[in-house]
């Protein structure tokens, strides 16, 4: 078990000394006040999740006051590893939508790619600006030891959570300004600017201005990440549009404004492929912008992330990312993958079935921490139930060992207790590849829990990267 703050029971890691002193000075009264202040702040700015509950309507994610801290050298390794991975994933996408070298080299079986729903046939033979398919890559990491990190999954479509990264910092600076005098915390508030620069650097061929018009395309207020959409578009100073605000005329995409049509060059879309273009993807869909794919393919607009980018973060493709890094970049992977058994292989399936009580089994297409089995934490009957599901549809599952996620000090009922955490840093891929010096630390607030998802009792923390 690795603890982020304690080297041993009595020894605090150097970079947590300041925080420890600060914690020791905080009374229960102050903790309560600050917790209430944070909650009020989050409610007021509206950083909430929609729920079906009649009384609450909207829920906020629990925020823990104790930051999670990385030293400069710890972060440097992560930074290199994440950027390496984001480059490889983009190279993979460029490859499979063009020559398919990795398939010819027999590294990834072609059925695995071409049979996937997330493989977008209409993208074949088309290369987006700068060959960037996924301009924002979120990599979910866990730490198991001082120098040991594993990638749990990649997010190449529209990773969310960056607004929490920024708002968590904002509230910490507001509530505890002194902490930022005594600790040299690398700022992250330039993320929206960098995101906008990234999007602008990905203008399509036919865009002939040095200041391309970017918009953020949202599915609307019912989407759980809606706050993030409005927050980011506000911070970038770009319009947040819904698909009904956009239309295609001739070779270009326009938005409807009170002054009449205005041309759009780059669409940062936060909607799924299926809802982009009813003419191309889902003919029965009433949402979407008819004709946008034609404009896209003829260089009239760029769509970020590219349609079909989701194949790269498929759980079945995940297994091959270390191979991709070697194949495309000629480098050794800096971050490790979790050992993964894909249940569509007979050998793997048998192993998984024999060891269910030791493994974590996930649905290939699942997310949010739902539909998974944590063997060591499950009752006999739920293991047996899962055994039946797995045998009926082995292709739909992968299995991994249960990782011993690191503990981070967390305030539980005003006491400092260890709770498990993960990390999602955000990598931008445009003219430059860059990683924001921070990320979203999610924490499993329930004692003994391994599940950090907000839908299942997860909370969040501010994530610090100390300057050199």
């Amino acid at each position: 078990m690795f603890n982020e703050m304690y080297q041993s029971e009595s020894l605090i890691r150097n970079h947590y000394n300041n925080i420890n002193e600060w914690l020791e000075k905080m009374t229960a009264k102050v903790i309560n006040e600050k917790n209430a202040e944070a909650e009020t702040h989050f409610r007021n700015i509206g950083i909430t999740f929609s729920t079906n509950s009649e009384t609450a309507r909207e829920r906020i994610i629990p925020f823990d006051l104790i930051p999670r801290i990385f030293t400069f050298s710890e972060w440097s390794k992560l930074e290199k590893g994440v950027i390496q991975r984001a480059k490889a994933l983009n190279a993979f996408l460029a490859d499979i939508y063009n020559q398919g070298e990795i398939i010819k080299a027999n590294i990834i079986p072609k059925e695995l790619i071409f049979k996937k729903k997330s493989y977008e046939v209409s993208m074949f033979g088309f290369t987006p600006p700068r060959s960037i398919y996924s301009p924002i890559v979120g990599i979910d990491l866990v730490r198991t030891n001082y120098n040991e990190y594993f990638v749990l999954e990649d997010n190449c479509r529209t990773p969310s959570g960056v607004s929490y990264m920024l708002e968590n910092r904002e509230i910490m600076m507001r509530m505890f300004p002194d902490l930022f005098h005594t600790n040299r915390v690398t700022p992250i508030d330039d993320y929206p600017t960098r995101l906008l620069q990234t999007l602008m650097s990905l203008a399509p061929i036919k865009c002939n201005t040095s200041e391309p018009v970017c918009v953020l395309l949202t599915p609307g207020p019912l989407n759980s990440a809606y706050y993030e959409h409005s927050f980011l578009s506000d911070q970038m100073g770009i319009e947040m549009v819904e698909s009904t605000d956009l239309f295609v005329e001739g070779e270009f995409l326009y938005m409807k404004t009170v002054d009449g049509p205005k041309k759009v060059d780059v669409v940062y879309r936060r909607i799924d492929d299926d809802f982009l273009d009813p003419l191309c993807f889902s003919p029965n869909s009433v949402i979407g912008i008819p004709g946008i794919m034609d404009v896209y393919r003829t260089g009239g607009v760029n769509i970020c992330s590219a349609p079909g980018a989701g194949i790269a973060d498929d759980k079945a493709i995940y297994i091959y990312v270390p191979e991709m890094i070697k194949f495309y970049l000629g480098e050794q992977p800096i971050l490790e993958n979790v050992q993964t058994w894909s249940c569509d292989k007979d050998d793997d399936l048998n192993y998984v079935l024999d060891n269910l009580s030791d493994l974590v089994v996930k649905e290939v297409d699942g997310s949010g921490g739902y539909g998974m089995l944590i063997g060591p934490k499950s009752s006999k009957s739920s293991i047996e139930e899962f055994r039946r599901k797995l045998s009926a549809n082995p292709r739909g599952y992968i299995a991994q060992p249960l990782l011993d996620l690191s503990f981070s000090p967390t305030l539980i009922k005003n006491q400092v207790e260890g709770r498990r955490v993960d990390l999602r840093p955000f990598c931008l891929m445009g003219e430059n590849a860059q990683l924001s010096s921070g990320g979203l630390t999610r924490v499993a607030m329930n004692e003994g829990s391994f599940v950090v998802n907000s839908s299942q009792g997860g909370g969040v923390k501010d994530t610090w990267v100390l300057a050199e």
Binding site: G46, D234, T244, D245, V258, D259
Partner: protein, 311 residues
């Protein structure tokens, strides 16, 4: 500015204004219910429902008209599309969409109102709480309006104020109409003591009673009150004031001058007429008829704005 953004801004201030009107209407009913009722004259809650345009919806839900039910229907009921609760809910969900188009303070004002009304809704309220609810609503709406003062004077600002004055013009006109047509269907009451008392209550609920006293000398008469609420352009709730402001914010728009002109042309006559008209000739013509024409005009301006700018 996105057409949808303009539309949402327009509707946010319409909803906020409507929330205030409904709260004020409830106050009218509440005050009236405290006065002794002469025979055959106990329809204050019905007229309140009529003024709120909610009588059909209410009757679909309840068989009898009684204070507690009317209060609940107009304030909290989610089945009533214009209840204060729904107005705030709608204003807030619109604000969620366009929060980037006004100040953070405006968003906070609306969002806090929303958080509080959720709590109010979950508490049981007594009939005697009504003045507090009314006061609270007016306070919240004022908070929102105050926050608008720091906005850039751009088209977004003008759309917000267009919404406000279109809604207010409609609401004020309906209030007047209800007072004259529903409240006092029997001619013998007109000009009597009850009549004047009811007018005063109307003024109070529009927070214009003292203003009226300052603006007019002598007795409170129905003609003076009608003049005040229809023609007096110093009175911020009068039809005249509303129409002047609609014209002002419409012609201040910088987008699409030809659309602005088109709508302005349909309004020009009414605007001039209301500045020059005498209250006596309106009363001779029939206040009800005048107000009906006015309401129709506002409604066609509203649909022109929606058609020209939002579609």
């Amino acid at each position: 500015m996105l057409s949808r953004t303009a539309e949402y801004l327009y509707w946010i201030s319409r909803y906020m204004e409507r929330a205030e009107t409904n709260a004020r209407l409830l106050d009218v009913g509440y005050r009236m219910s405290l006065f002794p009722n002469p025979n055959g004259y106990n329809n204050e809650w019905e007229s309140v429902l009529a003024a709120a345009g909610a009588i059909q919806g209410y009757k679909n839900k309840y068989n009898i008209i009684e204070q507690k039910k009317v209060e609940d229907y107009l304030f909290f009921d989610e089945d009533n599309p214009s209840s204060v609760f729904n107005c705030i809910l709608n204003a807030r969900s619109n604000a969620l969409v366009v929060r980037t188009s006004f100040t953070p303070e405006s968003w906070l004002a609306i969002n806090k109102t929303y958080q509080e009304i959720l709590k109010l809704k979950n508490n049981n309220f007594n009939a005697s709480d009504l003045p507090n609810l009314t006061e609270w609503t007016i306070e919240q709406v004022n908070l929102f309006r105050g926050s608008l003062s720091s906005l850039l004077r751009n088209d977004g600002y003008n759309f917000l104020y267009l919404g406000l004055f279109v809604e207010r013009a409609d609401n004020s006109a309906r209030l007047l109409d209800v007072k004259y047509f529903v409240l006092l269907p029997k001619p013998q009451y007109i000009g009597g003591n009850i009549d004047n008392m009811q007018w005063s209550i109307l003024l109070r609920s529009l927070s214009s009673f003292r203003a009226f006293r300052w603006a007019y000398d002598g007795d409170v008469t129905s003609t003076k009150i009608a003049d005040f609420l229809v023609l007096n352009s110093d009175c911020p709730r009068s039809l005249s004031f509303c129409i002047q402001n609609i014209v002002k914010h419409l012609t201040n728009l910088t987008c699409s001058p030809e659309k602005v002109n088109k709508i302005y042309n349909t309004l020009k006559d009414l605007n001039i007429k209301i500045q020059e008209e005498k209250i006596e000739s309106i009363v001779d013509f029939g206040l009800h008829e005048f107000v009906t024409q006015f309401i129709n005009k506002i409604s066609s301006v509203d649909s022109d704005i929606q058609k020209e700018f939002f579609n």
